[in-house]
């Protein structure tokens, strides 16, 4: 993975702006996914990602990380927290009621079932407090390692582990009724 630091870019420091942008664009989906889960709506997520992206491009010189993804996600996370604090975290939850983008199945019953699954799981994750939600999203949906999460969330690995544990406990409680209904007879 190319480093973001122009110093180590070698022969062509002048190629830095486009190279940084391209590298960051490769992680745009990850950035949006995190912002979308933290903001819980598309509109704020887009604003947050845009602001984060410009910040990342602007301060690319200060990037001390070898991973552009972790660097971008760290900025997205911090921008989200600032954003949510500023806007009183009163994100509209109307979107949370819409169906999630689960893959459709050829069997109508199964398709309906999947949508319900997705809705319930998404709703449960969205109900988690922010500090638990971010670790579960980074871990289970983004598939990052403890080390990467520790870097992004700026906390020790032990804290990441204990938060994941607490997040799971809460998720199990939130999904208990749902599991009873859907998987009860399985």
């Amino acid at each position: 993975m190319p480093s973001l630091r122009p110093d180590s870019a070698g022969a062509s420091p002048d190629a830095q702006p486009p190279a940084v942008r391209d590298e960051l664009l490769r992680h745009l989906d990850a950035a949006y996914n995190l912002a979308r889960w933290l903001c819980r709506n598309d509109h704020d997520a887009q604003d947050v990602v845009q602001e984060s992206f410009l910040r990342a491009v602007r301060f690319a010189d200060a990037c001390r990380s070898d991973s552009a993804r972790a660097w971008l996600l760290q900025i997205v996370r911090n921008t989200c927290h600032t954003w949510l604090a500023r806007n009183g975290a009163t994100s509209s939850s109307s979107e949370a009621l819409e169906g999630a983008a689960a893959p459709e199945s050829a069997l109508p019953d199964l398709a309906v079932q999947r949508r319900q699954d997705a809705g319930a799981v998404r709703g449960a994750i969205e109900q988690l407090p922010e500090d638990l939600r971010e670790v579960i999203v980074l871990r289970e949906i983004e598939g990052l390692s403890y080390k990467e999460i520790a870097q992004i969330a700026e906390m020790p690995i032990g804290t990441v582990m204990s938060r994941l544990f607490r997040a799971r406990e809460r998720l199990k409680e939130l999904l208990a009724g749902y599991h009873g209904e859907v998987y009860g007879e399985l």
Partner: protein, 257 residues
């Protein structure tokens, strides 16, 4: 190993992130403790449920397009841009105020300077790139302004302003004769770390204009006019530092023959 510790490690265990000896300890514990073994199943079920059902959102195409274009997206860097979809009244208001404020200026200078400035920004950027590519950055390599400035005597019909900004981290490395907008111009070259700054100067008619920043081909360009001299600073340096450079450079009044 006690139950509390095992519960913390279950997650790492299910993803093979435990070192082998810890994994063995955890496995031994599962054999002896049905409660923790049940917890392991629950964690696996939950992981699977989340993996299957929680959406992984992809960035909207419109957002990707917006961020792929440097100049357009970075113009709004200070404040996140609000999308017209739901916040159009604020955008419309801001646009209306902006147009009102800019109207007199636009009317006076649209044709004369605005279009010209964009073309010149592209031209000085091309010259900046050429100076780096062709290895013809300097005609007079010197860190001494008293060497660089007199060098232009007899080569130009004006005397460019050369300022020593070494104390502020912008090192003068020399000067070069260049050709912009159909006339010979002075290019003063500074360096900030590995970044080269080309500062182009030539006499221009028209009133003073404060520095304005634009982007061309990924380079930052700051232009201003003072005392009948038009100047363009071009660099791959970030815009904060380039603007700082311009601020340091500008206070000294331009010297004319």
């Amino acid at each position: 190993m006690n139950c509390d510790r095992v519960r913390l490690l279950i997650d790492a265990y299910t993803t093979d992130e435990l070192d082998p000896s810890a994994a063995l300890d955890v496995e031994d514990h599962f054999k002896a403790c049905p409660a923790c073994a049940g917890e392991l199943d629950a964690v696996r079920t939950l992981r699977r449920t989340v993996a299957e059902s929680a959406p992984k959102y992809a960035a909207p195409e419109a957002l990707r397009r917006r961020l792929s274009i440097p100049a357009a997206s970075e113009a709004g860097a200070a404040e996140p841009r609000h999308l017209p979809r739901t916040k159009w009244p604020r955008v419309a208001l801001a646009a209306a105020v902006g147009v009102l404020l800019l109207l007199p200026w636009l009317g006076l200078y649209w044709n004369a300077s605005r279009a010209g400035a964009g073309r010149l920004a592209a031209e000085v950027t091309a010259s900046h790139i050429r100076s780096l590519m062709s290895d013809h950055l300097l005609d007079v390599p010197s860190t001494d302004r008293h060497t660089v400035k007199p060098w232009f005597n007899g080569k130009l019909d004006f005397s460019p302003n050369v300022v020593d900004l070494g104390a502020d981290g912008f090192v003068l490395v020399g000067g070069r004769l260049d050709y912009i907008d159909g006339r010979p111009v002075a290019a003063i070259v500074y360096r900030r770390r590995q970044h080269v700054i080309n500062l182009f100067t030539w006499p221009a008619a028209g009133p003073d204009r404060p520095p304005s920043l634009s982007q061309s081909k990924g380079y930052n360009v700051v232009t201003w006019t003072r005392d009948g001299m038009s100047s363009y600073a071009v660099s791959d340096l970030n815009r904060e530092e380039l603007q700082q450079f311009v601020e340091l450079f500008r206070p000294k009044p331009a010297t004319r023959p």
